[in-house]
């Protein structure tokens, strides 16, 4: 069964079609990239999948469950996690707290137990700390656990965002321009990192990226968007030769 299935998804902003007739089918463990010029509607698609926006038309189902109309927190709890184009960490909170917050949906203790710090509270809180620290250690961030997250260097902030997303225990991970602001060396490391977390956490990954080097090397399939419409879809090497894609990226070829 497909992990994510978007059928004919259309979204309008006050009459302007930001995304129209978008279709996507993600199989388990796939790594798919979305590319396209600025304003093509890539991030809008992420916002539609995660419930930040509600699609005007069309359906999106996650592992067979329709998710259009659900709140972002409910969708995340189902198993979709994401990062953001411009890092959105909980800046004033510690690295550990950033990851702990992402455990919100899995807490079973009631507000009354939280109030008294009794019952299931102790055990679950300790589990959350344990799991968060294990995850940070796994991503080599445990040394920074008590740092205020805004003080981390840029690259580590990006990694922490991924750690935080993984803490929600997703099946599907959406990465919004994970390589933004990175130099070529860092991009190579990031590519290895993305492949590695996919393997370790058994993830399906959908990513938006501008760095062609990255998408061409790690994505198994690409979607090209322009003005809200999917203009091409296929293997990276085919996309590179697609005339419509070249036109969008390089301008019209006149002969």
């Amino acid at each position: 069964m497909s992990v994510l299935k978007a059928e004919n998804v259309t979204h309008y902003f006050d009459g302007l079609a930001a995304v129209s007739g978008f279709n996507l089918n993600l199989e388990p463990y796939e790594l798919v990239g979305i590319i396209g010029p600025n304003g093509a509607g890539k991030t809008t698609i992420f916002n539609l999948i995660t419930g930040v926006y509600k699609a005007t038309h069309g359906s999106i189902s996650f592992a067979g469950t329709e998710i259009v109309g659900r709140t972002p927190s409910a969708i995340t709890a189902l198993g979709i996690a994401r990062t953001f184009q411009n890092i959105r960490l909980f800046k004033e909170l510690s690295v550990l707290d950033n990851v702990r917050i992402a455990h919100y949906a899995r807490v079973r203790y009631s507000p009354v137990e939280a109030l008294l710090h009794m019952g299931r509270f102790q055990k679950e809180e300790e589990e959350i700390i344990g799991h968060s620290m294990d995850l940070l250690a796994f991503l080599k961030l445990d040394a920074y656990a008590d740092e205020v997250s805004k003080n981390l260097p840029y690259g580590l902030q990006r990694r922490l965002e991924i750690a935080r997303a993984l803490a929600t225990r997703p099946q599907l991970l959406l990465l919004d321009e994970p390589a933004a602001g990175m130099n070529p060396n860092e991009v190579s490391q990031l590519m290895e990192f993305i492949k590695w977390i996919r393997k370790e956490f058994d993830l399906t990954i959908l990513l938006i990226e501008h760095q062609m080097h990255l998408v061409m090397n790690i994505c198994e399939r690409l979607l090209v968007l322009d003005f809200g419409e999917t203009i091409a879809e296929g293997l990276p090497r085919d996309i590179q030769k697609n005339p419509r894609v070249l036109e969008v990226y390089l301008g019209e070829v006149k002969c």
Partner: protein, 339 residues
């Protein structure tokens, strides 16, 4: 590594022993407050000021939950206080038998808090859709509505105010309620719910996308906050023995705001310090007459310039934070090193 580990262990044990001192101290202070009240050991004026400090601590804590921890901007907090004050007073004066009023007083205060808590939902629901300046306007309007509703209810004395309450707020009672509010808010902050509240302050959208049910968190935060504002109102009414709608206008809300920002946002210790400093300073400066109202705002202006986060902004005393949270990463490392 070994040295390091044992040091943490020692530190933890140290913290845990110190933690026994606190409840012991509190029991002692509570007993002391009972003795003071029984034998009138303190000047009634001083007692009155201490009780004002206590009531202001509860108000500051309750508003800090919304403005400091959750990062919303509520400016109508006196409205919740008014609801608590009127409900509790109405109960002790008009509903409860007069000779039983002293015994039923705690119930009246709780009832006031609960009604205020339920009304808190009125503000929680708009907060799902709006935030920042817009939510501030909503709360401002809410404060005005409460005031004008009370002014138009004859059974509550309308604009003339309501009286007939006995002086039921005593040092031990105020102290008891301060403890309850500190304890409840601390426990909530150091829980899943509290982390949800903080994440809303930091980035509401990211918070929602990290599976935090922001609507639940907001409902709970507004309810708890207005409950305690209502409690403070009930205590206030039975201390002053007279309330009128003007006592709960925007000026009162502003006073609470000042105490929150003076003490420091997102801090329980800050709330206690802010409320104490502000209340005591205003009393001490009474001989300055009208200049007091020049001096205090000046203090605030200087504070905002040199210490914009207030005295304790986003900080807490170490002994006040649960050991589990305080030493989270270190205990984890110790455990890893042990196995």
């Amino acid at each position: 590594m070994m040295i390091n580990t044992s040091r943490i262990k020692q530190f933890k044990e140290n913290l845990e022993t110190k933690r026994w001192l606190l409840p012991a101290l509190l029991v002692f202070v509570f007993a002391l407050s009972l003795v003071i009240q029984q034998f009138e050991l303190l000047d009634p004026y001083v007692q009155l000021i201490i009780m004002y400090v206590g009531i202001n601590i509860i108000l500051t804590l309750s508003l800090n939950l919304i403005n400091g921890y959750m990062g919303e901007f509520s400016v109508g907090h006196a409205g919740f206080m008014a609801i608590g004050a009127y409900v509790a007073s109405f109960l002790t004066v008009k509903v409860f038998p007069t000779d039983m009023a002293a015994w039923l007083f705690p119930l009246a205060v709780i009832a006031g808090g609960m009604v205020a808590g339920v009304v808190g939902l009125v503000v929680a629901f708009p907060s799902f859709k709006t935030r920042g300046d817009y939510l501030a306007i909503v709360t401002l309007a809410f404060g005005m509505i409460v005031k004008s509703v009370i002014e138009n209810i004859d059974a509550l004395g309308g604009p003339r105010g309501f009286l007939g309450m006995e002086k039921l707020s005593t040092l031990p009672w105020v102290f008891f309620w301060v403890l309850i509010s500190v304890w409840v808010i601390r426990n909530l902050i150091y829980s899943n719910f509290g982390r949800g509240v903080l994440s809303i302050r930091e980035d509401e959208i990211a918070s929602d996308l990290m599976s935090v049910n922001t609507n639940h968190v907001k409902v709970l935060a507004f309810t708890v906050s207005s409950f305690f504002a209502g409690i403070a109102g009930g205590l206030f009414a039975h201390l002053l023995q007279f309330i009128n709608p003007r006592a709960f206008d925007i000026i009162k809300s502003t006073d609470i705001l000042i105490m929150v920002y003076l003490g420091g946002i997102g801090s329980i210790a800050g709330s206690v310090i802010g409320a104490t400093v502000y209340t005591v300073l205003l009393e001490v400066l009474r001989p300055m007459g009208i200049w007091r109202m020049v001096f205090m705002p000046l203090v605030l202006v200087l504070l905002m310039i040199f210490r914009p986060r207030g005295i304790m902004g986003l900080r807490e005393f170490r002994w006040f934070v649960p050991v589990r949270d305080m030493l989270a990463s270190r205990l984890w490392r110790e455990k890893k090193a042990g196995t």
